[in-house]
């Protein structure tokens, strides 16, 4: 039938709003199996909102959200998580008043055991193992982001949504984080990653999409899109 593999995650004409204010005006986006899609664009373009819609945190007001070709409009975030969508939200995706270990414990909500979680996290990021009884809020920014990413390591999701992974982090840490993501991709994970600044994510991205004013205005090879991104910044 269809030669192209069906996308794992797909938005078709997706609209979403905060109260009466519509923020996404018909977004089309597809993440194929095993691919990495970078969602780029200036601040306020609607990237985080798109991520929230995909994760089930924000309902659609129009259009469709599809997981593996199936329309799942209205899916709750907890069901999306159980279906294999792992979303690391903007900012730090950790609970500051829980310890590292307790954070990993909470992350077992989709079926993994605490032992598996700890194993996966401490092997990849030994520093977390050393600090397992420390409050997450007292970790450095990079360590918190490692902890957030550990949820993806231990729960074996099908799709990973990453929002501004690099925000506020030193370049070296960012590289380390994306190395980890690249390894997960090599194991077959599909990733949708939103970044305001393209540099960090382009090496691992297969496709890039440029988002402006609540619409995806261009999709293409990462290099092309980066050029457009810089011109859209310069052009206002």
């Amino acid at each position: 039938m269809n030669a192209e593999p069906e996308p794992l995650l797909e938005l078709v004409g997706a609209r979403a709003a905060y109260g009466p204010i519509e923020v996404l005006h018909g977004v089309d986006l597809a993440v194929g199996p095993g691919s990495v899609v970078a969602l780029l664009g200036p601040n306020g373009g609607g990237k985080s909102t798109t991520m929230k819609v995909c994760a089930g945190l924000l309902p659609l007001t129009g259009g469709e959200l599809r997981f593996a070709g199936r329309r799942v409009n209205g899916v709750t975030a907890q069901d999306a998580a159980r279906l294999g969508v792992c979303s690391i939200p903007e900012g730090r995706g950790v609970f500051p008043n829980l310890t590292v270990r307790e954070n990993l414990w909470v992350a077992t909500g989709t079926g993994a055991t605490l032992a598996e979680m700890e194993e996966a996290a401490y092997t990849r990021f030994p520093i977390l193992g050393e600090r397992r009884h420390q409050l997450a809020g007292s970790l450095s920014g990079g360590q918190q982001q490692m902890l957030a990413l550990s949820r993806a390591l231990g729960t074996d999701p099908a799709v990973l949504l990453l929002d501004e992974l690099s925000m506020g982090l030193a370049p070296m840490i960012v590289t380390q984080m994306y190395d980890t993501v690249a390894q997960l991709v090599a194991e077959g994970l599909s990733v949708l990653v939103a970044e305001q600044f393209a540099r960090a994510v382009l090496p691992i991205a297969d496709t890039a999409a440029l988002m402006l004013h609540g619409r995806v205005v261009a999709v293409g090879r990462p290099g092309e899109i980066e050029d457009q991104l810089s011109s859209s910044y310069l052009g206002g």
């Binding site: 975030a77 829980l98 949820r151």
Partner: protein, 764 residues
């Protein structure tokens, strides 16, 4: 020494029960963000049930305990969460508070209905008061040991739950970030429900334990307030920390017993002071402890209010006074006085419109400010004696002024607090006033002056007389109250439309943003609080004048809470909401209960049925209050909205007015009774918008909406019209088919579950 030890043990026991109650409160507040004012009422209801099982029906103690603490407690909490609390997300603090207040009132009414308040009910200590041991000369009863052990077990149990179990850790995580919890695959609603079940169980347990300590007599209001004392303990932990809550509870219990032990016996007010102590401590703790900083983001809430223009408000004010006059022609003198009483309550309710509706702050004890004004007017404002006694204008003005100052003094320390804390501070003030001032019936001598604040427990307050205006005449009083209500209401609308009003609204929407714009929030809040207290004071004095004599019971916190709830039900953002709330709280209940009692007298065979219906009406009102969560803008808002839609349907409006005029003439000439007039008017008022929609859909709904309502039924789609892409999508949607051309066989794609499940929604 023995005295000291004895009272220390007693203090520890009292403290441990407070701790049990307060930890339940903290638990629910943290997982759902709702401060449960009904916590004490839940304890009360559980305790009554326990009494019924053990003493009423003679079940063995352990069985009743299992039923009440093990089954009813958790079920009550889970039900409250599922039916009501879950729906309170994204509502303003005010709405959350009012809904739990409505639950409190509903539970109190319910218990008074089931367990008649005039029958005496006594609960014994566990194993009886004689089961005791002696240690170092101190007698400790078995019941007290049980309290201590249970509290210790709960402290340890909660500690283990929160650190050693996943569900406990998830509960703590809910406080931080419910959305992140969802992303990790948990359901915050389920977590919240569990915590409500636990909180409710703790409340019930505390009620069963504390009743015998407090003397054993079961009385619904008193028992409810007893557990409310635990609020102070919860505040020690800033509503977050359970260990600190326990510490606060112990301090609270100890202080209360030491006051009993060591205050000189000839201080007549010691007993009152001891009862008020938790509220005094609550007030102090609220002020002393640092509170959460203002949140920067605006609170996005579902409450919506339209602001009427001053002109339309003035017009409606005139219409209102005219309608009151026309109605008064239908009434006898006694009904006119009742109506007047309701009108004075409506004036008190206006104090809430400006404070809560416009400025977003809450005063849970409006009647207490009315009480302050009444006391001042009684002591300083009465001129003449006997039948010539009257209130002077200066007396009323002084009373209003003093109340404004008292309002300022109460609010000043609490001004930097967020809504909930200010609400708690006003409640603490109200309970304190009821316990200390309104019970100050014996005489003291202070600095050579002998006085008592509330002599003999009743104040006789004569009506106001200013020049030729003598309010002793019922009709004059009614019309004066109506005119005053209209004047204040129009004044408030003018205030809301002024720059000051817009600043208040800005403060309500986003305190932090308003502060950043250079507004002095403290001054703004201070001013509006004093204004509100002054209005409540004026209403209070008039209310006392209309009743003739008032007792402490007229100003209880329960009565205040009822007024607040009904005003919110009416619509806290509107002066007409205040009219509804005031009339209902002031006289609505009296009329409803009275009518059904009369019916019961007239027809003894049906007596119990009628009395029950009367009680049911009270509970039903509380149910409406709970409904505020679904419809936070209030009934008046909806009614006004539905009439606004009729604007273009003039024939319907004119027809309605004509029908109403006919009804009025029929009532005036005595063809139909006043009850029929009231019932038919209510029906007409509610039916008119519906009629309008049926008769003139295009004018009422707008052409587009009317056309949409007429759209083709699904089974006829595409029969008489071209089969478009749009139509095909609609069919897909309505039939639940996947959009677009669905592939014949869905391939396995890497989603662990999605590919196998027929419908994702089924996974939930």
């Amino acid at each position: 020494m023995t005295t000291f030890l004895t009272f220390t043990i007693l203090g520890l026991v009292l403290g441990s029960v407070y701790a049990i109650a307060a930890s339940g409160l903290v638990l629910t507040y943290n997982t759902s963000g709702i401060f449960n004012f009904a916590h004490g009422a839940q304890a009360m209801l559980g305790t009554f049930l326990y009494w019924q099982l053990t003493y009423g029906w003679g079940l063995p103690m352990w069985l009743s305990l299992i039923i009440v603490v093990g089954l009813v407690g958790p079920a009550m909490g889970a039900a409250l969460h599922t039916l009501i609390m879950k729906g309170l997300r994204d509502t303003a603090d005010v709405t959350k508070i009012v809904v739990t207040v409505a639950i409190l009132l509903g539970m109190v009414y319910l218990s008074q209905w089931i367990w008649h308040p005039e029958d005496a009910r006594i609960m014994e200590m566990f194993f009886g008061a004689s089961a005791k041991i002696e240690l170092l000369g101190v007698v400790i009863r078995a019941h007290e040991i049980i309290c201590l052990v249970v509290a210790a077990a709960i402290a340890v149990g909660l500690r283990l739950l929160f650190t050693r179990s996943r569900v406990g850790v998830v509960m703590r995580a809910t406080v931080d970030d419910p959305d992140l919890l969802r992303l990790a695959g948990h359901n915050p609603d389920r977590v919240a429900m569990l915590s409500w079940a636990m909180g409710s169980t703790l409340a019930v347990l505390a009620g069963v334990l504390i009743t015998p300590i407090g003397g054993g007599a079961l009385e619904a209001n008193q028992l409810t307030l007893l557990v409310i004392d635990a609020f102070a303990a919860a505040m020690f932990g800033r509503l977050r920390s359970i260990p600190r809550t326990f510490a606060g509870a112990i301090v609270l219990g100890m202080t209360a017993t030491y006051v009993m032990a060591y205050f000189p016996t000839d201080w007549t007010w010691t007993g009152n002071f001891r009862v008020s102590l938790p509220m005094i401590i609550l007030f102090v703790v609220l002020i002393v402890l640092p509170q959460d900083r203002l949140r920067v983001a605006a609170v996005r809430t579902r409450e919506r209010y339209r602001v009427p223009s001053v002109r339309s408000a003035a017009t409606w004010g005139g219409v209102f006074v005219a309608v009151v006059f026309l109605l008064s022609l239908l009434m006898e003198d006694s009904s006119i006085t009742t109506f007047t009483l309701g009108m004075t309550f409506a004036i008190i309710a206006l104090s809430l419109t400006v404070l809560t509706g416009y400025a977003g702050e809450l005063n849970l004890a409006p009647l207490s400010f009315g009480a302050v004004a009444t006391i001042v007017a009684f002591h300083f404002g009465v001129a003449g004696t006997g039948l010539a006694a009257h209130l002077s204008l200066w007396g009323v003005l002084l009373a209003v002024l003093v109340t404004a100052v008292v309002g300022g003094v109460v609010a000043l320390p609490a001004l930097r607090l967020r809504g909930l804390y200010l609400a708690l501070a006003t409640m603490a003030f109200g309970v304190f006033l009821s316990n200390m001032v309104l019970r100050d019936t014996t005489e003291h001598t202070l600095f050579g002056v002998t006085f008592s604040l509330f002599p003999n427990g009743t104040l006789i307050v004569p009506p106001l007389k200013v020049g030729p205006l003598d309010l002793r005449d019922p009709l004059t009083f009614l019309l004066t109250a109506a005119v005053l209500f209209a004047l204040i209401a129009v004044g408030l609308v003018a205030l809301r439309n002024s720059g000051y009003g817009r600043r208040l609204a800005a403060m309500k929407d986003s305190p932090a943003a308003a502060a950043m714009l250079g507004q002095n929030l403290v001054r703004l809040k201070f001013g509006v609080f004093m204004l509100s207290a002054a209005i409540a004071g004026l209403g209070g004095v008039l209310m006392a004048g209309a009743s003739g004599s008032v007792a402490g019971d007229n100003f209880t916190i329960m009565a205040s809470l009822g007024l607040v709830m009904l005003t919110v039900v009416g619509g806290i953002g509107y002066v007409s909401g205040a009219l509804f709330g005031g009339l209902m709280a002031g006289v609505g209940f009296v009329i409803i209960i009275g009518t059904f009692n009369d019916l019961a007298m007239a027809d003894p065979a049906m007596g119990t049925v009628y009395t029950s219906i009367g009680q049911l009406a009270m509970v039903a009102t509380a149910l409406i209050g709970m409904g505020v969560g679904k419809n936070p803008s209030g009934t008046v808002h909806d009614l006004v909205g539905s009439y606004r839609a009729l604007r273009n349907a003039k024939p319907v409006l004119v027809g309605g007015a004509a029908a109403e005029a006919v009804l009025y003439v029929l009532a005036l000439t005595g063809v139909i009774g006043n009850w029929w007039f009231a019932i038919l008017t209510a029906c007409l008022g509610m039916m008119l918008p519906v009629l309008g929609r049926m008769l003139m859909p295009a004018a009422v709904l707008g052409a587009e909406e009317a056309a949409r309502r007429r759209s083709t039924p699904l089974e006829l789609a595409g029969v008489e019209e071209p089969y478009t892409e749009e139509l095909r999508r609609r069919l897909d949607r309505e039939l639940g088919l996947p959009a677009g051309a669905a592939p014949a066989t869905p391939r396995r794609t890497g989603f662990p579950l999605a590919a196998e499940e027929g419908d994702v929604h089924a996974v939930a």
